[in-house]
């Protein structure tokens, strides 16, 4: 694979997971707040369906980002941490992205499942 293509994969792998997690986090939180408030509660937002959709969409995107990171990592396997760029930099971001995306994936899974299992608007 060309360096240019690997670079694109590297940025996608490094950035997409975080962006998707944060966007789905804001959307999920916003929907849960909307459903449980007096005015927006009347809008008939299907809470569980939205959360499930967010869960599936976000998890799929993060998996794609993780796959991209793995591809870059495998392509730069022989590279050392401090090697000159682009290979050194590709390797560096790929390692980081593989760990970061894993963390984002677990957060998405934990919160997504919890919001669907939990009864909406009940207070602890």
């Amino acid at each position: 694979m060309t360096i240019r293509r690997l670079s694109a994969l590297q940025w996608f792998g490094f950035l997409a997971g975080g962006v998707i997690w944060f966007a789905s986090f804001l959307a999920g939180t916003g929907v849960s707040i909307a459903v449980c408030n007096p005015a927006s509660g009347r809008w008939g937002i299907p809470h569980d369906a939205v959360q499930l959709g967010l869960l599936i969409f976000a998890a799929a995107c993060v998996c794609a980002a993780e796959a991209a990171a793995v591809v870059v990592f495998r392509a730069t396997r022989a590279v050392q941490d401090a090697d000159p760029p682009p290979p050194g930099r590709l390797h560096f971001f790929a390692v980081g992205a593989m760990v970061g995306n894993l963390v984002f994936f677990v957060i998405i899974l934990l919160t997504g499942v919890a919001t669907i299992v939990d009864r909406a608007c009940h207070q602890a």
Binding site: A82, F92, F93, T111, Q123
Partner: protein, 628 residues
């Protein structure tokens, strides 16, 4: 070529104005770092005195050293001072300013005059806040200033105006510094310093700067709402007219939790400098540690409502925050394992700086473990607003965030002053502070579990709290004594300490490759870099010496600086840097005058001063850099 050797030309080009005027108009990142250092030390002293007043008041039940009104102001000011006027400006302002350009091989930050403006605005904001306190209008609703307590109805004095305006003012300074650091680290790196070769210290400050840049606007919006509610009669936080009290908490903690990581991440950065220097070993898992520093701050933007578990928000909303809070442990733990493994597998020399870092790791683990307990929503609801919380966050904010600051003061002392500190006294100061800190904060866990609430000015006897409070107060004074010994050591060493070599620790990064103290231009020849530990790459440093001897790459045709490409650090162009300017301090003066009259509700005068501010900004940009 002119006959004068390059270094002499550089000396002449970069020479500062003499005397006080030189300090007032300086744009040198090292001088601004030192100004930040001295200013934050003054605020640290003030915050420390407030802490001792609190502990003296709480030493015995039914004590009356401070009345309830004075106590409210003192504990609020303690929190504000230590967070906004000590830790953030000490780490970003002092350490970051002084060291980041030296570590990335630059001659200054990307925007030197903006840096000076940041300092003067910061200094003025602190004077503004403390003016409020001395007028009897110190902020008095806690550092997080919850409404409705902070609304005009329950807090009719001008106290909260000093809070809102003082913090908006302070966040301007922090935002300027953060933006400056990000652009500098992205664009002013030495040739060859691609992203995988940036020192971990700089990654940490990059993370903190991004945190500041995106978190502070939420605080500013919140403060604007509160100012308008109190002074214009809007209803943002007033449920009777369609407002929402919890809005304050959401916005405050959207800022406030990233803020906690902004406090701690620079400490991670300092640790990742000191550990390699004293174990003579590169940090293990370099990419993981770098990414973990960024991840901590990034995930920190998704945890804010864990400060609001007890406010009656539906559980279905809270789980989002509990989930993210649980997983932020992973990047933190990656770093803990990396630090400890590096120490275990290296050849550690337990000098004072490394002792402080070991103390930091212990406190971070202890405070982190109590932090994990709060992720469980029922536990949090039980322990919220007790001394258990106070114990937890002081283990993190004092034990984990301030210990590396102390360690860093010792570590970089020879670089900044050209003198060595006294090692034995340094080690003694560590043990006193370490013991004092544990004595001060550990019993707070127990009184917290026994139910003692925070922010009360006194408490009844017979609840079993007294003995712990006595121990805490003793611990407070022991800690203060240790800190005094630390500064005493540094002051005496400054005058009497033995001369320091340029590189007494065989340190890993570029600041150790230049003389101590560093010259105004930092690097006589622009260094080339081929790893994240460039001072250990002997071949590269030898190349620098050869190039200097040959006069190649000295950039001595004016105050010049290399600008490099964002990702891979390839040299792109040479730019002329501004050098010594009176405009930053003038702009800061206009801005502070504007905030001062806003506090006394003179809005027309404020508008006039705003116009003056625009004129000073035009003056700032009147003289253009010469075309390189």
């Amino acid at each position: 070529m002119t006959p004068a050797p390059p270094v002499e030309r550089l000396e002449r080009i970069w020479a500062p104005r003499p005397g006080v005027l030189g300090w007032l108009t300086t744009t040198d990142h090292k001088r601004i770092g030192l100004l930040y250092f001295w200013a934050t030390l003054v605020f640290f002293g003030a915050g420390g005195v407030e802490a001792l007043l609190i502990r003296t008041q709480l030493a015995q039940p039914h004590n009356h050293v401070l009345g309830p009104n004075a106590y409210d102001q003192v504990f609020t000011m303690h929190g504000l001072t230590m967070i906004f006027w000590f830790i953030i400006p000490m780490t970003t302002g002092a350490f970051g300013n002084y060291l980041i350009p030296l570590m990335i091989g630059a001659r200054d930050l990307a925007f030197p005059r903006l840096n000076a403006l940041s300092f003067w605005v910061f200094a003025a904001s602190g004077v503004f806040l403390y003016t409020g306190l001395f007028l009897g209008f110190g902020p008095n609703a806690g550092w997080f200033d919850y409404v409705p307590l902070a609304s005009r109805l329950y807090d009719p004095g001008r106290n909260i105006e000093f809070y809102t305006l003082g913090l908006i003012f302070n966040s301007i300074a922090s935002t300027l510094t953060a933006a400056n650091f990000i652009v500098s680290i992205f664009k002013c790196r030495a040739p060859g310093m691609s992203f995988n070769r940036i020192p971990l210290f700089c990654f940490a400050f990059l993370a903190a700067s991004f945190g500041l840049l995106f978190a502070l606007p939420a605080l500013s919006a919140d403060l604007v709402y509160l100012f308008l509610d109190r002074n214009v009669g809007t209803h943002f936080f007033d449920p009777a007219h369609g407002g929402a009290t919890l809005l304050w908490q959401h916005l405050f903690w959207f800022f406030g939790h990233p803020e906690v990581y902004i406090l701690i991440v620079p400490a991670f950065g300092i640790a990742t400098e000191i550990i390699p220097a004293f174990t003579q070993r590169k940090m293990i898992a370099f990419p993981l540690v770098a990414i973990a520093e960024l991840l901590v701050v990034f995930i920190g933007f998704g945890v804010w409502a864990h400060h609001m578990f007890a406010t009656g928000i539906p559980t279905v909303t809270l789980v989002f925050f509990a989930g993210a809070s649980a997983m932020v442990v992973i990047p933190s733990t990656i770093q803990v394992f990396a630090w400890s493994t590096t120490i275990f597998t290296g050849l550690p020399r337990f000098k004072t700086p490394l002792l402080f870092i070991v103390g930091f790791i212990l406190f971070f683990v202890a405070g982190g473990l109590t932090g994990i307990m709060f992720i469980a929503i029922p536990f949090d609801q039980q322990m919220t607003d007790t001394y258990f919380v106070v114990a937890h966050f002081h283990y993190i904010i004092f034990g984990a965030a301030v210990f590396p600051i102390f360690g860093g003061m010792y570590y970089w002392f020879p670089k900044v002053t050209g003198r060595m500190y006294f090692e034995r006294a340094g080690q003694v100061s560590f043990w006193i502070i370490f013991a004092g800190t544990n004595l001060l904060f550990f019993p707070m866990h127990i009184v917290g579990l026994l139910g003692m609430p925070r922010r009360v000015y006194t408490y009844p006897s017979g609840l079993g709290w007294t003995i712990y409070n006595v121990l805490e107060t003793i611990g407070g004074f022991v800690t203060a004594a240790g800190i005094l010994l630390l500064f005493g050591n540094l002051v005496v060493s400054y005058f009497r300490g033995p001369r320091a070599e340029p590189d007494p620790w065989h340190g890993p990064t570029l600041e150790w490759s230049v003389p101590s103290p560093p010259p105004e231009y930092n690097f006589a020849v622009v260094p080339t870099v081929s790893s994240a530990y460039p001072n250990w790459d002997a071949a590269d440093r030898e190349l620098d010496r050869q190039r200097l001897a040959a006069g190649a790459g000295v950039l001595d045709e004016g105050p010049e600086q290399v600008v490099s490409s964002f990702v891979d650090g390839e040299t792109q162009e040479v730019v002329r840097m501004p050098h010594d300017s009176p405009w930053p301090i003038l702009v800061a003066l206009c801005l502070s005058a504007m905030f001062a009259v806003l506090a006394v509700e003179k809005y027309t005068v404020a508008a006039f001063l705003g116009g003056l501010l625009v004129l000073t900004l035009v003056g700032w940009h009147a003289k253009e850099p010469e075309e390189a």
